[in-house]
Each structure stands twice: as structure tokens, then as C-alpha cells.
């Protein structure tokens, strides 16, 4: 039994027999695994193994050809991304997303959920409610920015900060949405070691406060240090799952990385 075989009693995310092909290429090939509540689960695999595709399938950006995705016991297969988010699952993207023409705190504020001011009619009918929630959300943004030690960036244009700071802002913003499970796609790719360490500390801290993480990462040292268990993906299917140590010493994993899965 090679697939995600560890026993999971309290899975916050369950992926079952998921399939997706692009033309003739099976980018996701009957993938099955689960993410246990409270863990930092790593998702690794060689380039092109289908990790990002899997994220897109889980979050509703792609529609699977077959299989199911469950979040908190609810089948979310085929739902719109915003509906999946409503079930407590938030994601970030591999390439940082820039918000043209926004300040950092403005871009952060987009992350808050259930804002009464997002309803056009409420804006006109009860501006008082909007003002109240806006002040509260802004205070929360300032708090989170302070927790991440980037409060000095609050009023900077969101496009003027470094790539690493952008990754921090993305993580901070995702946390504003108060997810139960957060999917991070290569959070430290292209980030300098100091900021990478900072990101690692933050992820640990947030995990300690109860957020479950599923993270894709290329930086082996980073992921081995942070995540347990680790799911290994190769050519669209789950090769194995285990502790960092177990995975590192698994011949199939070494083969997949060295031989491109041959």
C-alpha cells in the first residue's frame, strides 16, 4: 500500500481518486490523500508532478474529470472557488499576485470575510454597520501586520514591496480570512533566507494557534524541517506518504527526483 495510507480520523481535507488530464497528459492521476486537522502537511514532488494542478482542483479553479474533494466532511467537488473558501479552505498562488494601485493594508483588507460593506445595498441602507465593521477589520489588519512584523509597510503601494515581503503579505492576508486549512503553493520560492526563516516561524506560530496547513515546497530543507507528514506526488499520483525521515530515505522518492519517475 503506497498511497496516503496513514490513518486519519479527523481529516480537514480529503482528496479521493482525483483525476485531471490536459489533452493526453494526465496531470492528476487518481490521486488520493488526506490532511489531518492540526498538521502541517507537506506536498512535494519533482517539477511538473502536478502539485499546482492538484491545488487548482481542490480549490475549484479546475473541474476534476473524476474523483472527489471533501472539506470538513462536505463534498465540495465542482464548487466555485468562493464556495470552497466559504467552507474554510483558502489558498495562495505560486506566483505572487500584485494588486495594482492598492496599498498593502488595502490589499490586506480584501481578505476579511463576511464584510457587510461588500453588499451594495448595505452601503446605502446602513452605512453605520459598514463603518463599524470596516474599523474593526482595519484594526485587525494592523494587528496581523504587526504580528508579522511588517506593519511599517501598511501604507506602501502593494506593488512596491519586495517579492519576499509580498509572500508575507499574502500569508497574512490569507490568515485574515480565518481559514481552517490553508494551502500554500511554494511560499518561499525566490525568498531570501532571512525572510524564509521568518515565514517558517509564522507558519509554525499560526499552526500552533490551530490553522492546518498543506504546503507545496521545492526547498527540501524548508519542508522537511516544517512539515510532518509529507505527501510525495509523482506524475500526478501519490507515490508515498510519511515522516520527513521516512520520505527522505525512500528509494522510490529518490528515483522520482533523480530519474524523473522513470
Amino acid at each position: 500500500m503506497s498511497e496516503g495510507a496513514l490513518p486519519k480520523d479527523d481529516a480537514v481535507l480529503r482528496v479521493d481518486d482525483l483525476q485531471k488530464s490536459f489533452g493526453g497528459l494526465a496531470a492528476t492521476d487518481h490521486a488520493t490523500f488526506a490532511v489531518e486537522r492540526g498538521t502541517i502537511t507537506g506536498l512535494i514532488g519533482p517539477n511538473g508532478a502536478g502539485k499546482s494542478t492538484l491545488f487548482n482542483l481542490i480549490t475549484g479553479f479546475y473541474t476534476p474529470d473524476g474523483g472527489t474533494v471533501e472539506v470538513n466532511g462536505t463534498d465540495v467537488t465542482g464548487m466555485e472557488p468562493y464556495e470552497v473558501a466559504d467552507h474554510g479552505l483558502i489558498r495562495t498562488f505560486q506566483t505572487p499576485r500584485k494588486l495594482e494601485g492598492m496599498t498593502v493594508r488595502e490589499a490586506m483588507l480584501v481578505g476579511s470575510r463576511n464584510q457587510p460593506g461588500e453588499s451594495f445595498l448595505t452601503l446605502l441602507s446602513s452605512p453605520g454597520t459598514v463603518a463599524e465593521s470596516e474599523s474593526a477589520n482595519l484594526a485587525e489588519v494592523e494587528q496581523i501586520l504587526a504580528d508579522f512584523e511588517i506593519d511599517h509597510l501598511a501604507t506602501q503601494p502593494a506593488t512596491d514591496i519586495s517579492g519576499g515581503q509580498m509572500k508575507l503579505v499574502e500569508l497574512a492576508r490569507a490568515m485574515l480570512a480565518e481559514p481552517e486549512v490553508l494551502l500554500l503553493d511554494e511560499p518561499v520560492a525566490g525568498v531570501n533566507p532571512t525572510l524564509a526563516k521568518k515565514l517558517k516561524d509564522q507558519i509554525r506560530r499560526l499552526n500552533g494557534q490551530g490553522t492546518t496547513f498543506l504546503l507545496i515546497e521545492h526547498d527540501m530543507e524548508f519542508v522537511m524541517d516544517l512539515a510532518d507528514p509529507i505527501v510525495v506526488l509523482d506524475q500526478g499520483h501519490v507515490l508515498t506518504e510519511g515522516t520527513p525521515k521516512g520520505v527522505r530515505n525512500d528509494d522510490r522518492v529518490i528515483d522520482a527526483y533523480l530519474g524523473g519517475g522513470a
Binding site: T59, F61, E80, P81, Y82, A85, D86, I90, R91, T92, F93, R97, K98, L99, E100, G101, M102, T103, R105, E106, A107, L109, V110, G111, S112, R113, Q115, P116, G117, E118, S119, F120, L123, L124, P127, V130, A131, E134, S135, N137, L138, T155, P157, T159, D160, R173, A174, A177
Partner: protein
Amino acid sequence: MSLFDGPRGALSELTRPEGWVLGVSVAFLLFLLVAMLTGALGPTYFLFLVGLAGMYALLSFGLNAQWGFTGLINFSVAAFFGIGAYGTALMTASGSPIAGGLNPLVGLVVALVVALALALLIGIPTLRLRADYLAIASLGLAEVVRLIVLNERWLTNGSAGLRGIPGFFHGWPVLSTFPEAMPGLRLEVIPGSPVTLKTAFWQASLNVLLVLAFAGVTYFVLRRAHRSPWGRVLRTIRSDEDLARALGKDTYSFKMQSFVLGSLIMALAGVFYAHLNLYVGPGDLDPITTFYAWVAVILGGSGSNRGALFGGVVIVTIREGTRFLNDVALPIDPAPLRLLLIGVVIVAVMRYRPQGILPPQRELIWPSAVDGGGTPETPDSGVRERKGGGDNE
């Protein structure tokens, strides 16, 4: 930041382009005032121009709510404008082949309902798709609406157009008879060139009142809606729709709201136009209106309501100002000259100030949350000015 801080405080907070626009506007108004007092510009015609400016401002507001806020590319501004004009004309005009003679308020409601239906008709199939689908579909829609108006005579009177449209206040108490009831006024500010204000002047004043009401309410609503969580989601969609989706926003619904809102405002401009001009014809659906609205929004600064207002006024100035060139006996026709002038203006703006003359300045955060707190470092203005590229002072 409000005007109540006293004029000096407000003035010193203006960015250079803002001060520049303010100065030019004041100079321009003075110029018009002098022209009026000397009799070179008839006061009634002046009010007609103000009405037109208000109308273009409405069209720009509408397009700004779609393109400027959300990045929706709508090439059927003229169609929604025409739907507004024809909607009310068909209900109220004595020459209407289907209804006619109804109160203009009925016309207003019908026009808005038809525009809503049309916006949904084109929005539902395209807004789930990539941005370019709306652009292409709206281009087609504009032509379809124009051809229907031109060819379905039983409905629209075809190329003859609709005559006998009443003023908007027709049938209202007091206001409907106000122009006739007012006495003729004779002013002689400059000796030897008297100015007489007659019924037509009072009629035109009512029209200005109407467009000020339409544009004022629209501006108020848009301003409130833009600096809010709602406006913030729209801007997120404009720069990265997938990010908005990942953060749990139902982007389809937001795009639909923005599209419908903009379309209704365009139809409102059409309603006003019908009761200003008292005649509508298929020529009023020509694509040039769409072109003018786009120029106004880009010139003013996409996303900025003030910019849209400014752009609308510039368009009317160029459109109507070139008419006077007839008097100067230029060797060329003013119509192509007008387009040439607009082309030059657009190229100059794109070259030296790609973000437009009055780009949005403030963060899209509910004003009381940032202003009220009084945080000293609050960058209430100038945030976008810095990143704007163009000219850093």
C-alpha cells in the same frame, strides 16, 4: 480633507494636476460668463451646454463604474444610452407608435427596466468568461440595438425618429408650467448689450436642474460605493480576478453588479437626453457616443469619479467648441477637426500622463475608518500619485 477645513486647507492639499484642473475650470467658467454677458453666448444655449456636459458626465460615470472600477470592457455605451432615450421617448412622445403620452416618470422607469434586462441579457453569458468576451459581445450588441431601432418601424418609427417628446417635468405640479409662468427678464450688465431671459431660458434651467439631480445622485452613490469594501473587491477583480476568487469573493456576482449599475447610469443619460432634445432618432445610437465616453474616462483617469466628470466636460467643450470655428471661416470642416483634436488630446495624455488627468487618489477604505481615526501617517492622498509613473514632482 473636506472643504469645511476652510478653503486654504483644502487648496493646499490639492496635487498639482488637481490645482491645474481647478484653475483651468475657473478660468473657463469666467470666460463663459464674460461671453454670456457680452451677448456672444446666449444664456439659453449656455444652459443647453451645461445639460450636455451633465449628460456626458453621466455616460462617463456609467462607463467608469464598469471599466474604471472593475475592468469590464463595454463597447455598447451608445446602445444603453439609446435604450434610455428610446425607452422614455416611446412612453411619452406624442409621435410614439406604441404608447405615448404617458408621464415622463413612467418613461424613466421603463427605460431603466429595459436597460436592466439588456444588461442581464449580455452579462449572464459573458461575465463568467474571460474579459474579452464581453468586449466582443457588447460590440455586436450595440449594432444589433441600432439596427432594430432603425428597421422595426412598428416599434420605433424607424429612421423618422420620435417627435413630440415632452419636457421631463411635463405633468408635474408647478414645474410643468414654471417656464411659461416666469416673466421675461431683461438684464443689461454691459450697457448696449442687453440679455433677455424668456420662456426657453426657464425651460433650459429646469433641464439643468434635472441633470444636476441625476448626476448629483449618481456621483454621491458612486463615491460611496467606490471607497468601500464593495469597491475594493471590484478593484481586486480589475487587477487579478483569480486572487479575488481565491479569497472567497463571488466575482461573477460582483462583475454583474458593476455592469448593471454602469448600464443603468448610461440609460439615465439617455432619458435625460430625450427630454432635453425633445426628439430622438437612430442617429443617437451611433457608435461615436461610445467613443466619446471611453475618451472621457481614459482622459479623466480610469477609476476616478471626478476624472469621469472632468472628462465629460472636456468632451462637450471640444464637441461644441469646434462649432464656433465655423464662424472663424476655417478652410476645413469642423467635424473631422473635432476628431483630430480628440485624437491629439488622447495621444498626449497617454504619452505624458497614462493614468489620466485626475486618477483615483484615495485608498478604497471606508472614509470614516481611516479619516476619523486621525492616524497622522494616513496617506489620504498621493498614494497612487507616487506610483503613477508619469510625472513625479
